[in-house]
């Protein structure tokens, strides 16, 4: 099969491969990754046709474009030799078409004169068509130079013909700075669009975000053609601010307005106020053997995708409905008598993040169609002393784990696929029953407990991750447990590698 070169962006490295794999599945094309390195923005794929290449990359956020690979090598001599060998049969087709040549140097620069020299060294291809530097219809040929970091030395060269461009321009279109209505925890536009890609948002699909806030994820999925729906425990974020005649405000800002801003209001199904642990959405009650409960099983899965960034309990409270302490009879009757009043605010209590993740997974298993996807963001401290725990559910298979690193913490994008019931039974037979531990379960009820006891990440965050600094300092001193501490970072990374290993073997 022909080879293609993808010009990736050199950021969010761990997302790039996962995005290409998701897009290949979405476009229904068979793709093999021939060459991919975290340290390089150049990736070589095999794909069945130029049309497949174009379809694959058209939705991509973390690449710039895809090129038919015409030549490659470690020096210009080898590049020219390779170009003659690989692509000379294609040259006649472009003899008279309008075209342009460009040079793209990664970690290096070339002056205009040097670029001209490079371009002219390809004159043996004998292209006679007019040179159009700005015409969108012109054929684009690009020479890519890949330099080593901080070195003048060339690492590799590629030469290709542009086949298709990506959707990276959407990053600018949906930039939060230009969005009408956002809040402190709105997801960066690039990552929101990427998340929608990972969950395979596409025309005709139904997507839902249980923690929508100002609607960043629903907007991203609507951009890709899906119908989007969302909810939040805080109704104010959905209804928005301003526009109250009583307070003399003007300029209503709400989620609906965001959809209008991008011309997507036709694909916004609306928002509602609810708590995931007491969701009003119709769910199929699943039994252990995989069959739906007899009698009142309300249909099968009906969502194509769930994408969300659950509250971490740091900048926004992690709360669910309920009260910290068991209500007394008097309190219960007060609630009963007064909940219809307009000023009534339902009591909320802090909740465990681990339990919330399990709840999201269980909810996804009960509402997604077979093959539907769940993509969610989860934070961790960078030097987590416990092994990386990926929440699991027997009906969901982890597809990819991508990491965005910050200074002392990072967040991961976990993507799951809802299995068909036959697959669930197969996996169940293969899996050791003991693996599914009840970690974190003791916190699930958590009545009376404070937010810090319930949420490990929150506690570490507000302690400034000092625990780890202390551990690291101690680890450098010759203590018996020094070796163990020094290995922590490796342990975290290797846990990630394990997951990747698993993902690629399935």
């Amino acid at each position: 099969m022909p080879e293609y070169l993808v010009r990736l962006v050199q950021m969010h490295e761990s997302f790039r491969k996962a995005e290409l794999q998701a897009l290949a599945e979405l476009a229904g094309v068979e793709m093999d990754i021939v060459k991919y390195e975290e340290d390089s923005p150049f990736c070589i794929l095999t794909l069945p046709s130029p049309a497949a290449a174009k379809a694959l990359i058209s939705r991509s956020i973390l690449s710039l474009g895809i090129y038919s690979l015409w030549g490659h090598g470690t020096s210009y001599d080898l590049l020219h030799a390779s170009t003659s060998q690989l692509s000379s049969h294609q040259w006649p087709a472009f003899q008279s078409t309008p075209f342009r040549f460009t040079v793209d140097s990664f970690r290096g620069t070339k002056t205009a004169m040097q670029q001209r020299e490079i371009i002219e060294s390809f004159s043996y291809m004998n292209f006679r068509g007019p040179i159009k530097m700005r015409d969108a219809a012109a054929e684009v040929f690009t020479v890519f130079e890949d330099y080593k970091e901080h070195a003048a030395e060339l690492r590799y060269l590629y030469f290709g013909r542009l086949v298709g461009s990506s959707s990276r321009h959407l990053k600018t279109t949906y930039d939060l700075k230009k969005r009408h209505y956002i809040s402190t925890t709105s997801m960066d536009a690039e990552l929101a669009l990427l998340t929608a890609n990972m969950a395979l948002a596409a025309p005709g699909k139904l997507f839902y975000d249980p923690f929508m806030g100002t609607g960043g994820f629903p907007i991203a999925s609507a951009e890709f053609g899906a119908y989007a729906w969302g909810s939040d425990i805080d109704g104010r974020s959905i209804r928005g601010t301003g526009g109250s005649a009583r307070k003399g405000q003007i300029g209503k800002r709400d989620v609906q307005g965001n959809f209008k801003q991008y011309g997507l209001e036709g694909r916004y199904l609306g928002g509602f106020v609810s708590d995931l642990t007491n969701t009003p959405l119709r769910i199929q009650s699943l039994q252990e053997d995989g069959s739906a409960v007899q009698g009142r099983s309300i249909g099968r899965g009906w969502l194509d995708g769930i994408i969300c960034d659950p509250p971490y309990g740091v900048r926004e409270g992690l709360k669910v409905l309920g009260s910290r302490a068991e209500l007394s009879d008097l309190e219960r009757s007060t609630h009963r008598d007064r909940y219809m009043e307009s000023g009534y605010i339902p009591p909320k209590r802090p909740y465990s993040f681990t339990a919330l993740l399990d709840d999201i997974l269980a909810f996804a298993a009960e509402t997604l169609v077979e093959g539907g996807r769940l993509s969610m963001w989860v934070p961790t401290a960078n030097d987590e002393d416990v092994e990386l725990v990926i929440p699991v559910n027997p009906r969901l298979r982890i597809m990819s784990v991508c990491v965005q690193r910050f200074n002392k913490w990072s967040r991961r994008l976990l993507t799951y696929r809802r299995l068909a019931e036959e697959e669930v039974l197969e996996e169940q037979g293969a899996r050791d029953e003991g693996v599914m531990d009840e970690k974190g379960r003791e916190n699930e009820v958590g009545r009376g407990a404070g937010a810090n006891e319930l949420n490990d990440f929150r506690r570490k965050y507000f302690e400034g991750f000092k625990e780890f600094e202390r551990l690291r300092r101690d680890g450098s001193s010759p203590r018996p447990d020094g070796a163990l501490v020094a290995d922590q970072k490796g342990g975290w990374d290797s846990a990630l590698r394990d997951v990747f290993g698993k993902g690629s073997s399935t």
Binding site: G204, I238, V273, W302, R332, M340
Partner: protein, 147 residues
Amino acid sequence: MKLLTLNFLTCAIKTCKTSPSSFPLHPQDSELEIVEADINVLFLRNMLPRLMWNELRLIVNELGLPSLPETAPDASSLLETKLQVPEGDTTGLNIEKIEVPSQVAKDLHRVLLETCIREGKLVCGNCGHEYKVMEGVANFLLPGHLV
């Protein structure tokens, strides 16, 4: 809120969810509005097998809207072929067949995606709990004594 969404909503109270009468929620005192939107046949086709048709009919009747057919339409009835002369062709000799949304699809689109509840309440048929709808946003938060 669009009527399509009512087909995916039940009572939020856990003990109610197992009871057949908690679905669908019954709209009361509703103020309806029509919000025009582009028709999308692919989406309608994908939604058809996921809809609980009898419950949808029930709600449509309760709201006093024109009745829906007794059984859900077939996916194939959403499109119809139309003959049309291509633009710019004056000879009238070249007639092309194009697929356009049928009346069935248009009606379904009108009900599911253009008819919205602006204000009102949704009532559970089992426990009678009322959920308010304000500015098209329904509130499913439960009071303290029901969690």
